[in-house]
């Protein structure tokens, strides 16, 4: 009996120790989650921010620079009582804000660092350093600055990431900056660089205990790559000046490459306003401006193209062989079939060259009807779809796939659209407005500039883009080297080019105001009817006629006739770009443009 009890006790003791051993085996060897938990306890990842890549214009001028900036941090437990008013004055914030932010930091954690004030300037930082207040320190960030103060919408702005972005993309952490719009957003992955990290160890109170593994796992930040933008800063500035006070857009493209030379939107804003501590206020101000300065009209506005679109219809007619350069159509103040389309006073009958030169409406009504009522397609519906395909090959109604985010497709109607709209009861007369670029057509100023480039190239284009070089790469995206042919053969372009040349250079030409001696400007005016007041003044042109260097489109909302504002502006742009100056005889034109007052009361409603 005694021996039994001795054995029981010994077995009991050994069993308990075996259970403890088994539990230890499980905790220490089998279950690996505790290693991770211990690391989470102890490691703090301190982000080292890279400086963001800078942006140059096509002539190597800085248009976006990175500027040093400092975030004021505090570790509340280290802070001793200090003169809040003096400090607030030194760093240029209201005392109440400083106190409020500090209390917020205390609530978050007394032992961990919090950002108190973001984006101190260098001067503020130096003044702060002299004070030497315990518990406060600054960390380096970089923010943007815009030495040329141009092209706000084109360049876009940089902002702090929001929760949605953090959830979508695991590169970003709270407090990171990201390009929100424009180039900053489109080239975010190039510009942002790579964050570095410094791994610190902390104790239970969150107080740093030095770096982990002597910094073996720390990484340095890699600065963002700079890019060269195809924008000509000086030209851009000139364009912005010309359109000041007007609502509209100028886009210029280098036809041989598709590089965008300028992209003006007015009203515009000083991009520096969206940097720094005043950003929030300024942003709201811009957002509440009824003329919508933050709206990138050049690639996002859906405008009727107006008469400049006649060129496209002429070209399709020639390709479809329903039109030859010699065919003449009568015009007695307009096209008289159906509801009719009015025209201004000019000689009759006219051929293609003259119809382009004088912008005859009736002529293109005949052409349009011949295209879509072509017997070969059997019905107007088929015919319209063929027409649609042609138009899309000119880059209308499709995504051009530029290097811009949020580019608008515009709209080119198809038979389906009218079938729905008119319940299938429609004919070529119903859609006659398409012949003069009105009706359901919609396009962006960029697409119009691209049309000018296509005509100047005699039938092809390169995808428009604003970035010409990424500094550590040999080439930009391959899609920008790809030649896009329209469905119209090159030989058909000569008659319309002649017509556009004559519009600027000959008697009865609608665009004679765009004439610049020796530059061979070819242009087409447009006066786009619209439901929002006076007609839009539009113009597209390219120069010189052979070996074109620049293709421009100008769109001025409610500016009236194309020749009134758009044509002079475009010609000034062309002259400035090709000759680097404005000849003295044409200087009054600048003033003329600036003095044109347009009634924009429609925006203020």
């Amino acid at each position: 009996m005694k021996n039994f009890r001795i054995k029981v006790l010994q077995i009991f003791v050994v069993t308990v120790f075996v259970i403890i051993g088994a539990r230890l085996l499980y905790l220490q060897v089998i279950d690996s989650k505790y290693k991770e938990k211990s690391a989470n306890n102890v490691m703090r990842y301190e982000v080292k921010y890279p400086s963001r890549g800078e942006v140059f214009d096509r002539n190597g001028k800085y248009i976006v620079q990175s500027r040093e900036s400092y975030d004021l941090m505090a570790i509340p437990i280290d802070v001793e009582p200090f003169d809040t008013l003096r400090m607030a004055t030194l760093i240029g914030v209201p005392k109440e804000k400083l106190v409020k932010e500090f209390q917020k930091a205390v609530r978050y954690s007394r032992r961990r660092a919090s950002v108190i004030i973001k984006q101190l300037t260098k001067e503020e930082k130096l003044r702060f350093d002299e004070l030497n207040i315990k518990g406060f320190y600054t960390i380096n960030r970089t923010i943007r600055s815009y030495p040329q103060k141009i092209a706000g919408n084109l360049l876009g702005y940089v902002g702090e990431v929001n929760d949605r972005i953090i959830k979508q993309n695991n590169y970003y952490r709270s407090g990171d900056y990201i390009g929100m719009t424009g180039l900053e957003s489109a080239y975010e992955s190039v510009l942002r660089g790579t964050k570095g990290v410094k791994i610190n160890m902390v104790n239970v109170h969150g107080v740093s205990q030095g770096s982990y593994a002597e910094g073996a796992y720390d990484t340095l930040p890699v600065p963002g790559t700079s890019i060269t933008c195809s924008i000509d800063a000086e030209l851009q500035k000139f364009g912005e000046e010309l359109l000041e006070g007007k609502v509209g857009s100028i886009v210029a493209i280098e036809p041989s490459t598709g590089e965008i030379i300028m992209m003006v939107n007015t009203p515009t804003y000083d991009p520096d306003e969206l940097v720094g501590r005043q950003r929030g206020n300024n942003y709201m101000k811009l957002l509440n401006n009824k003329r919508r300065p933050l709206f990138n009209r050049a690639v996002m506005a859906n405008y009727p193209p107006g008469s400049i679109f006649k060129i496209v219809n002429g070209l399709i007619g020639l390709q479809e062989e329903v039109l030859t350069p010699n065919i003449k159509y009568p015009c007695a103040g307009g096209y008289t079939v159906g509801r009719g389309v009015k025209c201004h006073n000019h000689i009759s009958p006219v051929n293609l060259d003259y119809a382009v030169r004088a912008s005859c409406n009736a002529f293109f009504c005949y052409v349009m009807r011949d295209i879509i009522d072509n017997k070969k397609y059997g019905s107007v519906k088929k015919g319209l779809d063929v027409w649609s395909e042609y138009v899309k090959s000119f880059g209308f109604g499709v995504d051009l796939n530029t290097d811009f985010n949020g580019e608008l497709k515009g709209y080119v109607p198809t038979a389906d659209f009218y079938n729905k709209y008119y319940n299938s009861r429609w004919n070529s007369l119903t859609v006659i407005s398409l012949s003069i670029g009105q009706g359901e057509l919609g396009c962006t100023p960029l697409q119009m500039a691209n049309l000018a480039a296509i005509i100047s190239n005699r039938g092809h284009y390169y995808t428009p883009h604003v970035v010409s070089k990424i500094h550590n790469q040999d080439s930009i995206d391959s899609r920008f080297y790809e030649k896009h042919n329209t469905m119209v053969d090159a030989l058909h372009f000569n008659p319309v080019v002649e017509g556009m040349f004559d519009a600027v250079h000959k008697e009865q030409g609608t665009a004679r105001v765009a004439y610049i001696p020796g530059l061979d400007v070819c242009g087409k005016t447009g006066t786009a009817q619209n439901p929002r007041g006076e007609d839009h003044s539009t113009f597209m042109c390219f120069a010189p006629k052979n070996n074109p260097k620049i293709a421009v489109s100008v769109y001025v909302e409610n500016g009236g006739f194309g020749a009134r504002i758009a044509a002079p502006v475009a010609s000034l742009i062309v002259e400035k770009y090709l000759t680097d100056t404005i000849s003295s005889s044409r200087l009054p034109l600048i003033n003329y443009v600036k003095e044109q007052k347009i009634d924009y009361s429609v925006y203020d409603k």
Binding site: Q28, A39, V202, Q209
Partner: protein
């Protein structure tokens, strides 16, 4: 001749293995105390301002105490067992009145900056007293007067320590159950204790209805194993089921649910006693009695612990138990200590993070890391290899103490050795068990490891008296 004899008396016969294990444990404990309080600003391992330095002083005192014990005649402990016991009880009471309170327990005597806990010494004197009493000729658990005295000897220090609000140290006295078992205390008590612990745990993990059904099934099966007649069991269970559902539905319709399911089952069981009585009349009466006693005591027990747990057990003790059983999971509050402790030990892995490299302990994520949670440092810095080494040493020590006890010529020595083994075993099991989430948090030190003069000295005295007794026995055998 004389030299040889001298040699064998003091050095030759001494249990060197136990001494070696003791020295190893104390040394390892000291290293881990150093590691647990270590940070980069610390001046040195021997700095008296640090716990590692202070522990050196206590180790020196222990060396002296150990040597003195080995030199004192072992009959001294037999003779002075009662006076020492009485003195220690008086001391405990004195502390209760005049002592200082640290961490809620009024069990400290402060001599300058150095604290001392008489509770630790009381374990030694109680062991001696119980050994002395139970070793008298003719002692038997069957004699009621003997039994009640054993209860008194153990209960007195227990009660005083409870009054000092030091539950952890008080619970240690339950470890004497091991000694009592060795000395022939009835085995049923242990089965009952095991059942009670099981029932206690189970009652937290499952719903009251399940508990009562489980108890009923268990009792019926127990009775069935003894008596057979399974057909009657099935009839009985069906009767209970039908009756309780009937009562429940009746109360549902008549009193809109005034009687809960648990109560319904209890009423049915009560009503079924008539059936049981008839059954008992036809079969063996004694086994049926056991069935009834088991059934009713279990049901009463569950009801009682529910009441006690809610009304008597203190909040932090409730939380520690609920947390251990996974009923609550509050990692920032009550569960923080154990969670951080498990992280520390678990993150050690197979080989550990290395001496002084434990981030959990070095950066103070683990609370009480040099005292009650010292095992975390072992686990984190020395890994599974280290923890297995430590528990192997402990296991060796306890088995050796039991063997020592069996080697003793008289029952006084044997009972004392078993007492030492039991107390050490209890401390080790509870302390390590709590750091790895096997038992609820109970604040008692890990022998030889935890920082603290009183516990180190007390465990040294406890162990060395056993060694001395073993030595004396061998001496006389020569």
């Amino acid at each position: 001749m004389i030299n040889r004899r001298d040699n064998s008396t003091l050095l030759g016969s001494i249990d060197w293995i136990t001494i070696l294990v003791y020295l190893l444990l104390v040394f390892m404990g000291w290293l881990n105390i150093y590691a647990s309080v270590y940070d980069d600003t610390q001046s040195g391992i021997f700095d008296l301002g640090q716990r590692s330095g202070m522990q050196i002083v206590w180790m020196g005192i222990c060396a002296v105490v150990g040597l003195v014990i080995l030199l004192v005649d072992s009959r001294f402990y037999h003779v002075f067992a009662y006076p020492l016991y009485v003195a220690s009880i008086l001391l405990l009471i004195a502390v209760l009145i005049f002592g200082d309170e640290i961490n809620g327990a009024k069990s400290w005597i402060m001599i300058g900056p150095v604290g001392f806990q008489p509770t630790e010494l009381a374990k030694v004197t109680t062991s001696l007293a119980i050994a002395r009493f139970m070793s008298y000729y003719g002692f038997s658990f069957h004699k009621f007067s003997d039994f009640i005295r054993v209860v008194l000897i153990l209960g007195l220090p227990f009660c005083v320590v409870v009054m000092q609000n030091d539950m952890g140290s008080a619970i240690v006295y339950t470890s004497f159950l091991i000694v009592l078992y060795r000395e022939g205390f009835t085995g049923y008590i242990y089965i009952a204790v095991a059942l009670m612990i099981t029932l206690f745990i189970v009652s937290f993990l499952i719903t009251p209805v399940s508990v009562i059904i489980l108890i009923l099934l268990f009792c019926v099966v127990c009775e069935g194993i003894m008596n057979g007649c399974w057909r009657e069991k099935i009839i009985y269970l069906s009767y209970i089921a039908l009756l309780s559902i009937g009562i429940f539905l009746l109360s549902w319709t008549l009193f809109s649910g005034a009687i809960s399911m648990v109560l319904a089952i209890e009423i049915s069981i009560l009503l079924s006693m008539g059936l049981v009585a008839i059954y008992a009349y036809r079969y063996r009466f004694k086994n049926i009695t056991l069935f009834i006693v088991l059934l009713f005591s279990s049901i009463t027990f569950v009801a009682t612990i529910d009441y006690l747990f809610e009304n008597v057990v203190q909040t932090h003790q409730q939380k520690r138990i609920l947390d251990l059983l996974g009923v609550e999971n509050d990692l920032r509050g009550w569960g923080y200590n154990v969670n951080q402790s498990k992280i520390a030990i678990g993150s050690g892995g197979l080989y550990g993070k290395g001496f002084l490299e434990g981030t959990q302990t070095k950066y103070k994520f683990v609370p009480e890391q040099s005292t009650d949670f010292i095992f975390c440092t072992v686990g984190e810095e020395w890994g599974f290899i280290g923890t297995i080494a430590v528990i192997s040493l402990f296991c060796t020590l306890i088995i050796r103490l039991m063997k020592m006890g069996e080697r003793q010529a008289d029952s006084f020595g044997r009972i004392y050795c078993y007492s030492v083994a039991s107390i050490l075993f209890f401390h080790i099991f509870i302390n390590i068990g709590m750091t790895i989430g096997l038992v609820p948090v109970i604040g008692i030190p890990l022998p030889f490891f935890s920082y603290g003069g009183s516990s180190l000295v007390a465990f040294t005295i406890l162990l060395f008296i056993a060694i001395k007794m073993d030595l004396t026995k061998r001496e006389s055998a020569i």
